[in-house]
Symmetry: D2
Subunit: 387 residues, 4 copies
C-alpha cells in the first residue's frame, strides 16, 4: 500500500472500553487511520467522540445505516476501507450486513451475532459478498499462541488427549451483595441485547475459540452446568462444562465472572501423547512445553527459535514484553493484509490469513447455544454443530 | 509420653514408594519407632526389609494375621501401639480389621477400602473398637492447607461459590504407546485389587478430600466423564467431572495420569463471595489469597501472622521450605497425639484431632463409586452419599 | 488540542529497532502523527523509510541540519511540533542542539549525550530555550513503576535501607566465541560513537535511572568493576558495582550483555524499614510488596486500589496486560502533555510532568563516567556528581 | 551397617532452632539414633531436653568435655559414633577438638570456627585424627544443587563468566526501630561469641559456599561493603561485595538480615559461555537452565533425566516436593556413609564423599575475614586465602 487504510468505527464512543482497544490496536503500526465513525446513536456523544479522535465532523455519524450508505458512495481511497464494529451484541449482525452491502470490509467484535441462526445468515452474506470479515477473537493474536498452534500442527504434541481451557474473572462478584453494580457492561445481562448467554457468550467463547485455534480440533459435544449467582439476573455469570473433541480428546472448559480476585485469567493446557503445552494470558510472552521425560521448556517470544508464524506477529526483541494491545493489533494486521490484497485484486492469497473469521463466528455461536441448551437440560450432552 | 510410640507396618517392603514415605514421616520427629512389620507376603522379602530397618527378626512377619495376633498378645509398652497399613487397596479392609480386633490403633493408606460397602463396614468396626483410625490423605497435612481451612472456617471467604480442584499427573502416558510400562504400581490397573477406579480412586480422591478438608462442604452430586486412554486397560486413567456442593457451590474436579509432563500437580482454588484462595501442592509453602478490590496476598508458611492451626504443624521458620514428607508427618503427628491420649485414658479430647479419619474414608469411597457410576451412564448426575 | 501533534524523527529508518518502538509508542494513542523525518544520512534509505511511513516525500530529509532549518521555518501547526532523536549516541547532542535552536521540542533517546560535559552543555541549552525535552528512560513509563514511586513518596516503605538494581542481558555472549556477531548494534562497541561505555551506558544507566525514579534518591558514590569479556573490544560488556545513596541506603547495581539466556531482565528491589518492593520488567503488571510481619502483597495494574499516578498512565482494565510499548508510549503521553501546554502557553504546569528530563540525562552521564572512572582505578569509590 | 549409627549432640536443647533441624535431619532416614547429649551448660535444661528426646538420663551431660571423655571411653557400638555440634560459634572449635581427641567423628555447624586461625588449627587436628568431619553447609544437600554442580562439572555451561549469589533475609529489620528484638539468636551480634561478623558469617558464608560447591571455583579476591543498620550493634547486619574468581569469572555476592519481608531468600545464578543456571532456595525442586538461543529449561527433581549425583540424594518421585529438612538430611546421609566406611575400615573411599568438609570450613572463614578486612578499608580488594 502506498497509503494508510481508512477505517470507520461503529460503537466505541467516549468511555467504551473495547472501542478504545480497537483504536489503539489499529493505530499501533501506523498503517491504519480512523477517518469516520458512528460512535453512538446519541448525536452529541457521537460528535464529541469524533472530536476526541480529531475526525472531520462531516464523517461523524449518528446512524450506522446512513454511515454505510454515505461512506459506500464515496470513491475508493476516500471512503472507509473497512469498518470496526464494536457495538453491543444485538447490533453486530445488522451493522455488518449494512456495511457488507455497501461493499465495505468488516472487523467485528465477538460473539459474531445474536444467535446461531443469525451467525449462519451472516456467514452467507459474507461469502456472497467476497469481502473480508475478521472477528476479534483477539487472544489468537498473541505470538506464543501462534507458536502453540504451530507446534500442534507440526505434530510435536502427538495425538491430543486432553484440553483444559479456563477463563475465570471476578469483576462481577460484587453484584451478588449489591456492594457495587459489579458490571462493566450491564447490557451483557440483558437477554434482549446480549443473547442467550452472558458469561459463556462473552468469555467462554474466547476459551473455546482459543482451544480450537491452537489444536485445530472441533468440539463434538459438551455437557454444561451454567450458573447465575447474581440475584435478579437471568443470564449466566459462571459455567463449567465437560467437553469432547473430534478424535477422542476430552477435557473441561470453564468460565466465570464471579471468581473473586481473578482478573482476566484465561489459561489453556493442551495435553498430547508426546508433549503438552500451557499458556497463560496474564503472562503471555511464555509458552510452557512439558514432556514425559525431559526437562520442561519455556519458550519465550522474540527468540530466533520461534517459528515463522509467531515471528511474523512479533514486534519487539525477546525480553521486551508484548501484551494485550499488541495481540489485538495482530488481528488488525492480519485483517489489513487481507483487505490490502483485496484492494490490490489479490484476495484471497493461497496460504490464507491468520485471523479469526466468519467460520469461527458460527462455531462460537454454536458453542454458546449448545452450552445453554445443555445446561437447561441439567448438563445433558449436546452436540456442537457449527459450520 | 515418656517413650516413643511403637509402630508396626504391613506392606511397604524394599522398593515400595509409599511405605518408605510412611517410615520417613514416622521417623521425622523422633517420637515413633518402627519395631515390627509384615513387609511382604514373601518371607524372604519381608525378612530383608526388616534388616533394612534394623528390626528384631522375631518381629518381622510374613502373615499380617499372625502379626496382629502375636503383637496383640504382647503387653502394652512392648507390643506395637499402632500399625501403618500401606498395602494395595484390597487388603486395607482385612488388615485393618485384624489389627483393630487385636486392639491396635491404625494409620491407613487411602482409598480406605475396596468398596463403599466395605468402607461402611470398616467404619462400624472402628467406632465399636473405640480405637484411633487415621487415613493418610496426606495433603491435608500441609500447614498452608490448614491455614486455608482456618480462613474458610473464620468466614474470611464468605459464602463459597466455586471450587476448582485438579490433580493432573502424567507418569502413565508412556503406556499409551507402550514406550514403557508407564506405571509405578501396576496393581492399580487391576480391578480385582484396586477396586472400581484407578485414577479417580488413587488421586481424584485426594482432590475431593482436599476440597472437603478446606471448605468443610460435602459434595451433593457429580457428573463424571472418566476415560481410559491406555490400551488394554479397564480402569480409568483420566477423568473430569462437574461438581455440586451443599449450599450451592459449583465447580469442576479433574484428575489424570496421562497429562504429559505434569508431575504431582494437585491444585485447588476456592472462590468465595468475599475472597478466594488458591494453593498449589508443588509450591506448598504459599497460599494465595485474592480479593475483588485489594492487592492479592501471598501468605507464607512460618510467619507469625499465620493462625494456630498452621503453626501447630510447622517445624521450620519462614523461608526454610517444608514439603511433602513434613506434611505427611503431620498426619502421623496428629494421629500419635490421639494414640497418646488413648494410652493415657484421655481419648478423645474435646477439641478433636486434625487428621483425616474413617468418615473421610467413607466419603472418599462414596465419591469414587459415584464417579464411576456417573461415567457409566454418560455423565449422568449421581448423588454422593457417604457418612 | 484540536489536532494531533506533529512529530519528526531523526534516525530510526528501516530495520532500526528503537526507531520502530518510538513510532509505535507515538502512534498508540492516536494523538501524534509522524509527518517528517531524517531517517538516515543515506538518501535512498531515508527516502524508502519515508515511504514506509507514508510521508510526504518533501518532508523526508537526508540532513538533520537541513531538516531543523526547514521545519523550523514552517508555521506552527504545519511544522513538526517536536522531533524524536533515535540516532546513535554521538549524534544526540548535535541533533538536539539543532532542533532546539529551531524552536522545536525534543524527545531524545538515552544516554542523553556522548559525555557528561556535553550533557551539561545540552542542559544549559534546553533551559535557555524554554522548550520541552524528554529523555526516553522508558522503564519509568510502566504503571507499576509509577505505583512504586508513589509508595516510596508516601512513606509506605519508611527509610530506604537497601537497593538492588540489576539488568542482565545475554544477547552478546555469542560474540565471545565468535559464533555470531552477537551484537544488535555494533556501534555500541565503538568508543568514538558510543562514548566511554557500552553496557553501563546502554542498560546500566536504565537501572540507575529506575532506582532514582522510584526512590528519589541520588547516588553519592559507586565502586565499579566493569568487564570486557568479548575479545577485541575496548568497551565494557558487563559490570557490577557497590552503590551508596544519599541518606545512607546501600546496595548493588549490575548490568550485563553476556549473561547467557537472560533477555531483558531488568529488576529492582527497594528495601525500606517498613516495607520493601520488587518489580520485574519481564512481568511488569505486578508490583510485589513485602512486610516484616504481614502477608506479601501483589499489586496488580489496573485495579482501583492503585493510586492516581499509575491510573493516569493505565489504558486497560486489570488482567489485560500492558507491556513495553505501552510504557514507552507513556513517556510520549507525558511529553505531549508538556508540549501541548507549551503550545497553549501554559508551560510548565505547577505540578510538573511525569517524564525523565534533561536532569535525568545529566545524572545518567555522571553515573556512566563515574562507573568507568571507578573501574579504571580498580573499583575505587567515585562520587556521582550530576546536576 | 547392621545397626543404626549412634549420635550425640552438643548444644541444641529445648527451643533451639538449629538443634531441632539436626535431629530431624538425622531421624529422617531411620539410620541414626540420638543416644546422648550435652544440650545445655544449664544442667536442668540439658536434663529436660534429654527427656524430650527419650534419652537415658545417664547419657545426658552438662559438660561437653565430660561427655567427650565418658563417651570416648565406651566400647564401639555402645558409645556415640559421632557428635553433632550445634552450639554458638565460639564453641565449635573446642567442642570439636574434645571429641576428635576422644576418637569421635564430627558433624559441625558453620561457620566452622571463631577465626581463620582457629579453622586452620582445626583442620590440622581433623587431618591428623583421620576422623570424619562434616560441616553443615546444608544448602549443598539439595538435589537440584547437586544437579547444578554436575552440569558445571560436565562442562554444560562452558567457561563460567559471572556469578551472582545473594542471601537476603529480613528477620532483624524490626530491631532498627526497636519494635522488637528482631533477633533469633542474639549471640550472633556479640563479637566475643560470634566472631568478626554476624551477617556475612551466618549467611553470606552459605552463599559463598554454595557458589563454590556448584562451580568448583575458588574466590581470588573480594571488595566488600558491610553495613550495620541496627543501632547499638558492632557487627554487620548487611553486606554487599564485588567478587573475582580464579579463571576470570566476576560477580556480586550480597547478604542481609534487614531486607524487609525477605525470608530465607538464598539464590544463585551462574552464567557460563554456553549456558546459565539459576536456583532459588525457596523453590528448591527446580533448576532453571538458560541458553543463548534455545528454549529455557526447567529441570525438576526426581526425573529420570537427572544425573546420578542428584538421584542418589532424592527420596521422592517428581512432583512430591522435597525441601529444607531433606536437604539437611543429605549432609547427614553423606556423613554417615563416611562414618560407616570408617567403622568398616574402608575410609575414605576412592570417589570421595558428597558433604562439605573441613576445607570448606577453612575457606569459609577465610572468606569471612577477607570480607571484614575489605570493608574496614572501605571496600579495598582483599585476597581470599583459605586452604
Amino acid at each position: 500500500m502506498t497509503r494508510k487504510l481508512r477505517m470507520g468505527m461503529v460503537g466505541g464512543g467516549r468511555g467504551a472500553f473495547i472501542g478504545a482497544v480497537h483504536r489503539m490496536a489499529a493505530n499501533l503500526d501506523g498503517k491504519i487511520e480512523l477517518v469516520a465513525g458512528c460512535f453512538s446513536s446519541n448525536a452529541e456523544k457521537s460528535k464529541l467522540s469524533g472530536e476526541d479522535f480529531f475526525l472531520d465532523p462531516s464523517r461523524v455519524y449518528t446512524s450506522y445505516t446512513e454511515m454505510a450508505k454515505t461512506e459506500g458512495a464515496l470513491p475508493l481511497g476516500e471512503r472507509i476501507d473497512f469498518v470496526s464494529i464494536v457495538t453491543r451484541n444485538d447490533l453486530h449482525f445488522p451493522v455488518a450486513k449494512a456495511f457488507l452491502e455497501a461493499g465495505i470490509h468488516i472487523v467485528c467484535e465477538k460473539p459474531m451475532a445474536f444467535s446461531l441462526a443469525e451467525a449462519k445468515e451472516l456467514k452467507k452474506i459474507v461469502v456472497e459478498s467476497g469481502l473480508v470479515f475478521a472477528l476479534t477473537h483477539n487472544y489468537t493474536g498473541y505470538p506464543m499462541v501462534k507458536e502453540a498452534r504451530a507446534m500442534v500442527k507440526a505434530g510435536k504434541l502427538g495425538r491430543i488427549l486432553k484440553i483444559v481451557a479456563e477463563y475465570p474473572q471476578g469483576y462481577a462478584v460484587g453484584a451478588i451483595k449489591q456492594q457495587a453494580d459489579g458490571a462493566i457492561s450491564n447490557w451483557r445481562m440483558d437477554p434482549s441485547v446480549a443473547g442467550v448467554s452472558n458469561c459463556i457468550g462473552d468469555i467462554g467463547s474466547h476459551a473455546e475459540n482459543l482451544a480450537r485455534y491452537i489444536t485445530g480440533l472441533e468440539l463434538e459435544e459438551i455437557a454444561a452446568d451454567l450458573n447465575t449467582f447474581i440475584p435478579g439476573r437471568t443470564l449466566d455469570d459462571d459455567g463449567s462444562m465437560l467437553v469432547r473433541y473430534e478424535g477422542g480428546a476430552r477435557g473441561v472448559l470453564f468460565a466465570s465472572q464471579i471468581s473473586t480476585g481473578d482478573e482476566n485469567n484465561l489459561n489453556i493446557r493442551v495435553y498430547g501423547e508426546d508433549a503438552s503445552i500451557e499458556w497463560h494470558q496474564e503472562h503471555p510472552n511464555e509458552l510452557i512445553v512439558k514432556f514425559a521425560d525431559a526437562p520442561r521448556q519455556v519458550w519465550r517470544r522474540g527468540n530466533s527459535y520461534n517459528g515463522p508464524e509467531a515471528a511474523k506477529y512479533t514486534r519487539l526483541p525477546f525480553g521486551h514484553p508484548e501484551a494485550f494491545i499488541e495481540a489485538f493489533a495482530n488481528v488488525y494486521l492480519a485483517a489489513t493484509e487481507a483487505i490490502s490484497d483485496h484492494l490490490a485484486g489479490n484476495y484471497p492469497r493461497a496460504e490464507g490469513y491468520d485471523f479469526p473469521d466468519v467460520d469461527d463466528g458460527v462455531e462460537g455461536m454454536a458453542f454458546i447455544e449448545a452450552a445453554v441448551a445443555s445446561s437447561k437440560e441439567n448438563a445433558a450432552w449436546k452436540p456442537v454443530h457449527g459450520a
